[in-house]
Symmetry: C2
Subunit: 227 residues, 2 copies
């Protein structure tokens, strides 16, 4: 599904340069559940943005289903992102001016669903994250953990073949966090691929493979029997 070879992301900063990724090579298969861990600043979000087609490598190649992503047209990339990838951002990235329901419907607009169907699918996703009683609230009228859950619902609503979740439970109490992990397990059982950045061992334990980054490089890559 995903093949990275010698990927680097380099930001020039005046006289110096910051190497957010410094030579990453990885293979991820269509039905895998991967946890990504590592210290703050080690390149996890940069890696996720790369894989989710939101950013391009400075050096190296990224093939998605055999196609070289670096050589795709913008509209082709956008189509892949909207159809196949669900992304839970570390900073949520909700639209501030529309409410919870409209935020969750957004990926369905791109995938051409009709209005009644969009609403139904969005309501199901919102119910799964326990926010049916907040459906008309705008992001500013929600708690931090509620916004995080809207971001999760939006990422799941299209039943994506690839879910990329960057610290999806960082703002959630343990019990609510576990409910989100059950939704992820369900997506995985339906045959999809998941990559979850987390710093919590309890969350990583749900994955079947743990990749650890350090200073923009893969430090270890271990498959685990589960559970």
């Amino acid at each position: 599904l995903i093949r990275l070879r010698n990927v680097r992301k380099i930001y020039p900063m005046g006289a110096e340069e910051v190497r957010a990724l410094d030579g990453v090579s990885l293979d991820i298969y269509p039905n895998e559940y991967v946890a990504v861990m590592g210290p703050s600043g080690s390149g996890k979000s940069t890696l996720m943005n790369m894989i989710g087609c939101l950013d391009t490598p400075t050096e190296g190649t990224y093939h998605l289903r055999g196609q070289n992503v670096g050589e795709m047209e913008d509209d082709e990339l956008a189509a892949i992102r909207n159809r196949e990838v669900g992304f839970v951002f570390q900073t949520f990235n909700l639209l501030p001016k529309v409410n919870c329901l409209q935020n969750v419907e957004l990926p369905l607009i791109y995938s051409g669903k009709r209005k009644a169907e969009r609403r139904r699918m969005a309501e199901v996703a919102i119910d799964k994250v326990g926010l049916s009683d907040r459906i008309t609230h705008k992001p500013s009228e929600l708690s931090g953990g509620q916004r995080q859950r809207v971001a999760v619902a939006r990422a799941l609503v299209n039943n994506p073949s690839l879910l990329l979740a960057d610290e999806p439970t960082g703002n959630l109490d343990t019990r609510t966090g576990n409910e989100i992990m059950l939704l992820f397990e369900e997506l995985y059982r339906r045959g999809n691929a998941l990559m979850v950045v987390t710093h919590e061992e309890g969350v990583a334990r749900h994955a079947r493979r743990i990749i650890r980054l350090r200073d923009g490089m893969v430090e270890s890559d271990v498959r685990v029997e589960n559970p």
Copy 2:
């Protein structure tokens, strides 16, 4: 230091109303270290915003050092906030157009420090959170956990008598998170008061008292021997 009596925060939403806080009464003394826990949406951030003078109760009273906060003038409130309170927000709230150093200097501008002294104090705070090598980066050029640490540095730079930290380690790997908890312990040892919202038991364990909220009310309030 802090006395809340029957505090309510009620948001009218069309025909219904949301009770973010629904009758909270609390006393916090000048040198206490309190953890605030509870499910997502239970009112923790609302409580912190109230205590930090960023929001006012719909009902009930809040006395800070014996003064009724609800009856203060805006400029008096602002003076208290800038001089005495350090706030780490759940969503960081950094200024996007200025860099890490300038963000951390901000509370020092309000407290009238001279330029050279501001810079020195900000550099010390930035070093304490391990970001000396990111001092010229803007928030968009930082990782999620780095932004969180800038928010912590900004909250600590003025040596506040009251630190309010809302999920201060939610985006940090365990080791970096522990470094932040050491800084908090140091602030506490210097005689200050701390309130830390967290969903992680490991973080709550550092506190000397744990307040649990549920549905906008105090469910339990327990002092612990530590550690």
